[in-house]
Symmetry: C2
Subunit: 284 residues, 2 copies
Amino acid sequence: MEGYRLFLALLGSALLLGFLSVIFALVWVLHYREGLAWDGDAAEFNWHPVLIITGFVFVQGIAIIVYRLPWTWKCSKLLMKLIHAGLNTIALMLAIISLVAVFDFHNAKKIPNMYSLHSWIGLTAVIFYALQLVLGFVVFLLPFAPVSLRAMVMPIHVYSGLLIFGTVIATALMGITEKLIFALKLPAYSSSPEEAIFVNTLGVLILVFGGVILWMATRPHWKRPCEQNSKTQQRNGGTLDENKEGSTMADCSNANKPDVEFANEAAARKRNAKFDEAGQRSTM
Amino acid sequence: MEGYRLFLALLGSALLLGFLSVIFALVWVLHYREGLAWDGDAAEFNWHPVLIITGFVFVQGIAIIVYRLPWTWKCSKLLMKLIHAGLNTIALMLAIISLVAVFDFHNAKKIPNMYSLHSWIGLTAVIFYALQLVLGFVVFLLPFAPVSLRAMVMPIHVYSGLLIFGTVIATALMGITEKLIFALKLPAYSSSPEEAIFVNTLGVLILVFGGVILWMATRPHWKRPCEQNSKTQQRNGGTLDENKEGSTMADCSNANKPDVEFANEAAARKRNAKFDEAGQRSTM
């Protein structure tokens, strides 16, 4: 793998930033705010930032780059698709529970729902995320979709995934802004109390996490190599060390083709020209 | 050009969304708020959203896709670089004026500066944007940088540009959230007065504008073809019609190489393998 050390450094940074974001969210609600409960009060609302940051930011981010981890290249494509879909399903479930918490809190406190730009864009992101998951399941996991459809949908799937991820981060930053203005009164947000500095830092962590994930997800030389090549590696021991840098891609003429498994190698060869191009698009 | 009609439709949508965003920002401050002035009062603050949306969102978005307009492919690369840099310089100047307006307003009203997440991320985005402009000028416009350096910097330049653009949009959405909470008191933001619906819609327009620009900027088949090919086109009349769909890329073996002009064709051929790969990265 080309630039293996850089990849590892970025993966380590992403994991650290993601973990730190979750820890910061927990410290925010447990130390600075009313803790966590399911009682229709502020402690129920607090599940909203914790679950969104854990599921919709951190888990979604990891789901995006899971194909790029070189030690998974010896695993079957089907297993990796299941892990990708599974992580995204967990993220969606956590996001939905976090929405229930906030609607429940609003209803108990007689606060209107869905008035803010944060709520408009956030709910739209959850709906599109669910659609993306269903579409991805039908087209890429179930065995019925023709190869040409998969090739056509792949660049849209990749682009939508990254756009939704970016939108979720923007929505989280709006949510932090809203909550700090509403919650900090004496002292106010504008007087920069300790909580304001702490939660602003959480916002910066989330943004940098997003930036690292987007860089890793859009480097074409860090794409999972074609199925045939990863099987050869598996037979040869399956380890990926830095001395073999680049070889996993260089040996594979279809490295850029989309996430499609061919039942028939002869048919595959015919289609290569088209898929190479479609695969390039899927880099984003 | 492959998918010319779709490209035109998306360009039209981007222009419409961008213009609408600027009009919405103007209607917001002129109809719903205190208008525009330079008096240390709210009307001075109002320059902030108007100039950010005009310059830092709309002009920056157009600067990003300016190389992709097929009717500019007959223009020299140098001219296009000057237009790209010029539009980005205009965007930066408008962003800086908009920052002066908000600092001036805060100081006159004794409101602290730089306490909010919006201000932290927004100022960071302006600083990185300025650095990106200076770096781009030194590496890609001045004739001193070696070809290898240009090839190395290009994918970082493209990624940083798109990340800063996305961050600017996220920051604009945070700013809208802040302003609506602070400005709407009787009736409050939570009671969804007309202004709240109108400005939430502005936020959605900005986000969709960003989504369209990012799609256009990351399709590899809409990249400007290599210099040699566009010169051939120029000699043949320079028009690009749909019947020639795809030919501008298909004829050009270096279509994916980065924005580098080679003085020596023989040297260029030697370097092709490396640049083809670097060029792929530059798709984002």
